[in-house]
């Protein structure tokens, strides 16, 4: 237990850079601005939080009228656990098998369950931060509006603390089983990618297909029960129901029963993970870095053909970015996968009966209003293309190899061109994915899709350049686990907040344009011109910023 505690403490310090931050802020008084920036970043989320809480208040009122307010808790817990399970797969894969401290940890006199336990603890803390803003407001709104007694609050805290345990431990079990199988082959990277996608597809299928097809009679039966909707939502994942019923019942006899189920279930799955670690972890890990290699001497002709063509510097950088991103499973899954995931989720949701009502809502929202259709679609395309970590981790992903970018005789402004094109290609892929999903799932007409895509492609330039600038301002270059460069990188969160701010700004610009008399094609044209000007300016400013910033980044 002592070893587990020591490993956990070291893992937390390393993961959150606590020792380094303490050294920089307290001793060198350096990077104090970083603490301020983080504070401002969190403050910038406040308006969104206020909107969210207001929305929850409205939802509570609607659900209470139908006697289904517990469904709010179930939904929040389900959404939280869903995200933890889906994204936890990659966290776990990265932390358990690809972090650079593993070679050191394996050599320590620690049992596999201690190493996994410590790593699990670090991911758990990360997950608290992930679900904090989703779940806690729901618990608070429910507790206050339902007039829950004091005993509700410690139970809510307990549910919050246990919330990530089951999905994360399940993700750990799945990943360990997968890695045990993958490690028998020489084509490990490929199998890891395929295996991860299969796990992800399974998780999506489980969650999105949970409602299945139900007859109207069955649905009526669900709604007539006191917590029927909660049961309907959480029936494929019972821990959600246990947790929400625990909160709804409080310290009553049934409440304590659900407490035993939820807490006991969490502990049991965690123990299962630790037990499995003893059997599977090292077998999946040892020899993982061995790869299929050719070890065949290249002939002079083969060598000459390998060097047949010289490229311009920006093309060389674009190729480097493309290859490094695509060949690092963690980067690939978090970058390209996330631009594919949103459209696929939309498609599956709309195509399942569970999503039929949302489809109806979307159709009502857009019906008879071409402008609204175009703007909604454009915003969705932009979200598909740009709300991922590709651009906002482009410098951070270089990590300790950033010295190469500093010593090569290529102006930073030109280097950034190659990086921008790479990020923009991925954003473009997301826009196309969104376009296909909207066309195939919602049947939106081309007359709305094409102008929306045009706006999204131009907005993509602006947001890509902005996201890159955010990362350039404070690149995270000292990571040992690639997940830190893209998934646990504060720059990605800040960039998303900035993107949301920009889109929100454009929402107001559209309203303003309507108020002064613009409508239809005219309004779209004006928006296009404004976006184009801003896009051009953002690229120019990014290049200038790079020329200045590269000289001050010290590695």
């Amino acid at each position: 237990m002592k070893r587990l505690k020591a490993l956990l403490a070291a893992g937390l310090r390393q993961n959150f850079g606590l020792s380094l931050l303490k050294h920089k802020v307290l001793q060198g008084k350096k990077d104090l601005w970083l603490v301020l920036l983080a504070g401002i970043g969190f403050l910038s989320l406040l308006p969104v939080l206020v909107l969210y809480v207001r929305g929850l208040g409205l939802l509570f009122g609607i659900l209470r009228a139908a006697g289904q307010e517990t469904a709010m808790l179930t939904l929040a817990i389900l959404v939280g656990q869903f995200f933890i399970l889906v994204f936890g797969l990659f966290y776990v894969l990265s932390a358990f098998y690809f972090s650079r401290d593993l070679e050191f940890l394996v050599s320590l006199p620690a049992r596999p369950f201690e190493v996994i336990g410590a790593k699990f603890g670090v991911i758990l803390v990360n997950e608290y931060l992930t679900v904090l803003f989703v779940v806690v407001p729901v618990f608070v709104v429910y507790g206050v509006m339902a007039g829950k007694p004091l005993g509700y609050w410690p139970l809510a805290a307990l549910v919050f603390l246990l919330l990530p345990v089951i999905p994360l431990a399940l993700a750990g079990l799945l990943v360990m089983a997968m890695m045990r199988c993958v490690n028998v082959s020489r084509k490990k990277d490929f199998l890891i990618l395929v295996g991860s996608l299969a796990l992800l597809a399974a998780a999506l299928f489980l969650q999105l297909g949970l409602a299945g097809t139900r007859s109207p009679e069955e649905l009526v039966k669900f709604f007539s029960a006191a917590d029927g909707l909660a049961r309907l939502l959480g029936e494929k994942f019972p821990p959600c129901i246990w947790a929400s019923r625990l909160l709804a019942s409080g310290f009553s006899a049934p409440g304590l029963g659900y407490l035993a189920l939820f807490a006991g279930g969490s502990v049991a799955v965690l123990l299962l993970l630790l037990l499995a670690a003893e059997k599977l972890f090292y077998r999946g890990l040892i020899g993982l870095s061995e790869m299929a290699v050719r070890r065949k001497k290249l002939s002079a002709a083969a060598l000459a053909s390998s060097f047949a063509s010289g490229r311009t510097a920006w093309r060389a950088i674009l190729r480097r970015e493309w290859k490094l991103m695509n060949r690092t499973p963690i980067f690939l899954l978090n970058g390209i996968l996330s631009v594919v995931l949103v459209p696929v989720m939309l498609f599956i949701m709309v195509r399942t009966s569970a999503g039929s009502s949302s489809m109806a809502i979307l159709k009502i929202l857009g019906s008879g209003n071409r402008l609204a259709e175009i703007l909604f679609a454009a915003a969705f395309f932009v979200a598909c293309g740009c709300l991922n970590g590709t651009a906002s981790s482009t410098f951070s992903r270089e990590g300790k190899t950033f010295w190469i970018s500093k010593v090569i005789p290529v102006a930073p402004g030109r280097q950034v061109t190659g990086k921008f094109l790479h990020s923009y290609l991925i954003a473009g892929l997301g826009v196309l994915g969104g376009l296909l999903a909207v066309r195939l799932a919602l049947g939106l007409g081309w007359k709305s899709i094409l102008p929306a895509a045009l706006l999204a492609f131009v907005a993509g330039v602006l947001l890509t350049a902005t996201n890159m600038a955010v990362d350039l301002a404070r690149p995270l270059l000292t990571w040992t686990n690639p997940m830190r460069a893209i998934k646990q990188n504060l720059n990605v969160v800040i960039a998303m907040a900035v993107d949301a701010g920009i889109l929100y700004g454009f929402y107001h610009v559209s309203r303003l344009l309507r108020r002064v008399g613009f409508a239809g094609t005219g309004l779209i044209a004006v928006l296009f011109v404004i976006l184009s000007l801003l896009a051009a300016a953002s690229i120019f400013l990014l290049a200038r910023f790079a020329d200045k910033r590269y000289t001050t980044i010290e590695t």
Partner: protein, 241 residues
């Protein structure tokens, strides 16, 4: 030609002075060895020469050009090999060399000839098509060196280049560097291996706590320190804590 004038660099807002008023010049054709205990400021100095770190004050010129006001011109004539071969692990050796060739503008024909030569000498030809991830530490060091040699720059700046190299590769590297300097090139390198510095360098500088405490040929250093001392003894004497 490398010239450092009154170069200073400190960390922690001046609390830790890593390099203190360093002035030295390395003329063309010279192999210049840079010695010092751990934490003396060797790597900081080297990083300032190649533009990874910016000095707090003073100036650095490469081939007569200031490396801050004309950074690209300086970088175009310099190849750097760091002490830790941190390079793109997911690229193959060939892809890495091609990348270096592209960004330094080495023509394709020359690239093939030079890369072939160095891959052969460093016994990397059989693994050049494999991801760098699969390389040992020494092989990584050799692929970084191959990249630097591919460029054939006027100035080589190498931070402990012999660490991790097998004797044959170390011999090839030393031979290549001697040839480079005989053709009028410049080599600035740091090392902890006294024998190498003693036999290989035209001039040697010793840095201690950021300050240059000795600089000259081995004979000059011996004269300063007392007759017939070995470089190791001179080093130990000068850098005594």
């Amino acid at each position: 030609m490398i010239e450092l004038r009154n170069v200073c660099k400190s960390y922690n807002k001046g609390l830790l002075r890593a390099v203190d008023d360093l002035t030295l010049a390395v003329p063309p054709g010279e192999i210049f060895g840079f010695l010092g205990p751990n934490g003396a400021g060797k790597t900081t100095t080297i990083k300032m020469i190649v533009g990874i770190l910016a000095p707090d004050s003073g100036s650095i010129a490469i081939e007569g050009r200031d490396n801050r006001s004309e950074p690209l011109a300086c970088k175009a004539v310099t190849a750097f090999v760091p002490d830790e071969p941190e390079i793109y692990e997911r690229l193959t050796g060939l892809e890495y060399l091609n990348f270096i060739g592209d960004v330094y503008g080495v023509p394709a024909g020359l690239r093939a000839e030079r890369a072939g030569r160095w891959l052969d000498k460093f016994e990397l030809s059989a693994v050049a098509g494999d991801p760098i991830q699969t390389y040992s530490h020494g092989m990584r060091q050799k692929i970084v060196l191959s990249g630097a040699l591919l460029v054939e720059p006027k100035v080589f700046v190498l931070d402990e280049p012999l660490t991790g190299l097998d004797p044959r590769s170390a011999h090839h590297l030393k031979e290549a560097m001697r040839g480079h300097c005989d053709r009028g090139g410049t080599l600035f390198f740091s090392t902890h291996v006294m024998e190498v510095a003693e036999k290989f360098c035209d001039r040697i500088a010793i840095i201690h706590k950021g300050r240059l405490i000795a600089c000259g040929s081995l004979d000059e250093l011996r004269r300063q320190a007392g007759e017939s001392q070995s470089l190791e003894n001179i080093f130990l004497e000068l850098t005594e804590p």
